[in-house]
Symmetry: C2
Subunit: 218 residues, 2 copies
């Protein structure tokens, strides 16, 4: 996948700008578990995901987490370049959940093109709007959904991301995704098991009745 | 206040664009309680707040609310023009909390200038980033703060907005701001009263010990 594949406005950029972006982007392989970006002080650059899976999350002062969204193939991570916008005043951590191939575009380069190119600025706007939509979805989940519904929806989503009915994940990790305590997750998973939705084994959760679980998560 | 006062990039716009924006903006007085914008289907326009106070909130299917942020003098409301960006896929309601003077810029006009002007597109980006920051702050409040802390912070903020130590608001209304039930608010306010932070009277809450309340809300 080339760098232009990430930018739907590529044809609207002028030759110079295209060349600048192409020449500055460097391809990297990120191993699973690597923290790519950590808070607003950290000016990593614009990340274009060629393959793999990144997770964006926030951390509380006492180390609790909640997952904001995932970045998959063809996604662009804007907040790893948040230092280019003074109005972004929050800290997001980006971590590779799977081994990932990325292009990294340095902040100064991207910013210099964006400041004079209306198509790139508007494209950047649309990326931010997409992330905003993800985060608004999260607020609605937190505010209006019961925890059991959120957990059911999470399991269905994980299973889709892994392409498998068996999800290798600890209860601790699920708690971090959903911003709750491990005990709460364990209790609810046991309830799901008693209902025949899932089967719990050491280190993994097998989905037995995906249809019922999906319906439950809605 | 003129329309150019809202746009820090005014000097970077070309004469034509300035004229287009200026001529299209119409001044309106919005009476208290008016819903200016309701969900993504509704394409109201870009709202520039000359004076007054607007509230942006979301609604659950069963009618519960939570306040996302306030728009005050000199603020620009972008999401009332959300139809100009396909990537915005969430519904926000905007309501006048006080009688407000606004400029409304029609969506087509604003969009036509933004699509070709890099300065305006980047400025729009910075507005969205500010709202994103507001919403991330809200998530952190909901996730990591206890309800008593959120309520204390809310009372301090309301008192500052009203410029008065006496806040005229019902418990029902506070519950809608904070996305909880009236009973929860009433119970906590009674606790605050017992601690000597506030004094409750019919239809209003008087802040007795602002310092203690502020410290509590941190």
């Amino acid at each position: 996948m080339t760098i232009e594949g990430f930018f739907t406005v590529w044809n609207q950029l002028d030759d110079n700008d295209r060349e600048t972006l192409e020449n500055s982007a460097f391809r990297q392989t990120i191993s699973k578990g690597t923290v790519l970006h950590n808070g607003s002080q950290d000016c990593t650059g614009l990340i274009c995901v060629i393959s793999g899976q990144l997770r964006a999350y926030i951390l509380s002062a006492d180390g609790r987490e909640i997952t904001l969204y995932r970045l998959l193939e063809r996604d662009i991570c804007l907040f790893s370049a948040s230092c280019m916008m003074r109005s972004i005043q929050f800290d997001i951590t980006i971590e590779a959940e799977k081994e990932s191939e990325i292009y990294m575009i340095p902040v100064e380069v991207y910013q210099s093109v964006m400041m004079k190119s209306a198509p790139l600025a508007n494209f950047t706007n649309s990326i931010m709007a997409s992330r905003f939509t993800d985060v608004m979805w999260l607020i609605e989940q937190i505010m209006w959904k019961r925890f059991d519904q959120r957990l059911a929806a999470f399991l269905v989503e994980e299973s889709a991301l892994e392409g498998s009915g068996s999800i290798k994940i600890t209860h601790e990790k699920i708690a971090a995704h959903l911003g709750t305590a491990r005990e709460v997750v364990t209790r609810m998973l046991k309830y799901f098991q008693s209902e025949g939705f899932v089967k719990l084994t050491r280190g993994s959760i097998e989905i037995i009745d995906e249809k019922a679980l999906s319906a439950f998560g809605e």
